[in-house]
Symmetry: C2
Subunit: 160 residues, 2 copies
C-alpha cells in the first residue's frame, strides 16, 4: 500500500477512506497485491547480484537438475520456450550456465550450472530465504503450510 494512511478493515487493510467492499471478496485482487509486494522486493534484492526473478528461478532449477533441457525447464517454470531462450542467454553470457549438445538428440541442449553459477545460486537462495522469512513472520508456521498448499491447489486448478 503506497499510502501512509492505511488502516485495517476487517481482514483487509485499505487506504484511508476508500470503500473496497466489493474488491475484498476477490482472491485475484489480493493475490495480485501480495505478489506485487513480493515481486518488487525480490527484484531489488536480486539486482545487486545481476539476477532477475526469471533468471534466478531458472538458475536454481538448473543447479538442482543438471542436464535438464530447455523445453523441460520452460515447462517446469511455466515460461514459453521463446522467452526461455533470452533468459538462458543472460545466464550463459554471465558465465553461470552452459548449453551442451545432447549426443543422443542433437536438437536439444543439456543445461548445467558452472561453479560460478552454483556459488551465485547459493548466495541468492540465502538472501531469498531471509527475504521471505520477513514476510511470513506474522503467520503461524501451520498457516504458512496451508498457504502454500492453497496456492498449489489454485495452480493445479488450471487444467480442471
Amino acid at each position: 500500500m503506497a499510502s501512509s494512511r492505511t488502516h485495517s478493515l476487517g481482514t483487509c487493510a485499505v487506504s484511508g477512506g476508500v470503500n473496497d467492499s466489493s474488491l475484498r471478496q476477490f482472491l485475484g485482487y489480493h493475490m495480485k497485491r501480495a505478489y506485487n509486494v513480493l515481486r518488487s522486493d525480490l527484484t531489488k534484492l536480486l539486482e545487486p547480484l545481476g539476477l532477475r526473478i526469471t533468471t534466478y528461478s531458472a538458475l536454481t532449477l538448473i543447479v538442482d537438475n543438471p542436464g535438464i533441457r530447455q523445453s523441460e525447464l520452460a515447462d517446469a517454470l511455466d515460461i514459453e520456450r521463446p522467452n526461455m531462450v533470452l533468459i538462458l542467454d543472460d545466464l550463459e553470457q554471465n558465465g553461470w550456465i552452459a548449453r551442451e549438445r545432447v549426443p543422443t538428440d542433437r536438437r536439444a541442449y543439456a543445461l548445467t550450472a558452472t561453479p560460478a553459477g552454483k556459488r551465485l545460486c547459493k548466495k541468492a537462495v540465502a538472501l531469498d530465504q531471509q527475504h521471505e522469512a520477513r514476510f511470513l513472520s506474522g503467520l503461524k508456521s501451520e498457516d504458512v503450510g496451508k498457504l502454500v498448499h492453497a496456492l498449489n491447489d489454485i495452480e493445479n486448478s488450471r487444467s480442471a
Copy 2:
C-alpha cells in the same frame, strides 16, 4: 502446469522428473505460479467484455467510490499515477466512466461510473465470482479465509 505429465510430490505438483526441492521452499515461486494461473484465466474471461484486469479493478473501485480522485484510485490499486491515466482513458473512451473537475480543487478530477459502466461492472463481477469459485472449490471455506488473511499479511509487510 503446461505439462500433462504432472504428479504430486509432497504438497507440490511438478512436471515429470524435475527436481524442484529447492524451489518448493519458496513462497514467491508458488505465488507467481498461482497468480499466473488466475491472471491468464481472468484475462480471457474479461476480454469479451472489453475489459482488462487493470481496467476491471479500476471500474469496480470507481463504482463503489463515486467521486474518487485519480490519485486516490492509483493509491488504492497500487498503480503509479502515470499508468492510471491510460487505464482511465480506456474506461472513459468506452463511455464507462466520466472525469469531472472538482470545483474546490481545480487540479483534480472526480471519477464516476456511467450507467453503462455500472451495468458492465455488475456483469464482470458476476463472471469473476464464478471464475474464482472454480479455483477455490478444492479448499475448505475456513482455509479460503486463512488464505486471504495470509495474503493480506504479506501485502502489509511491505512497510515493515
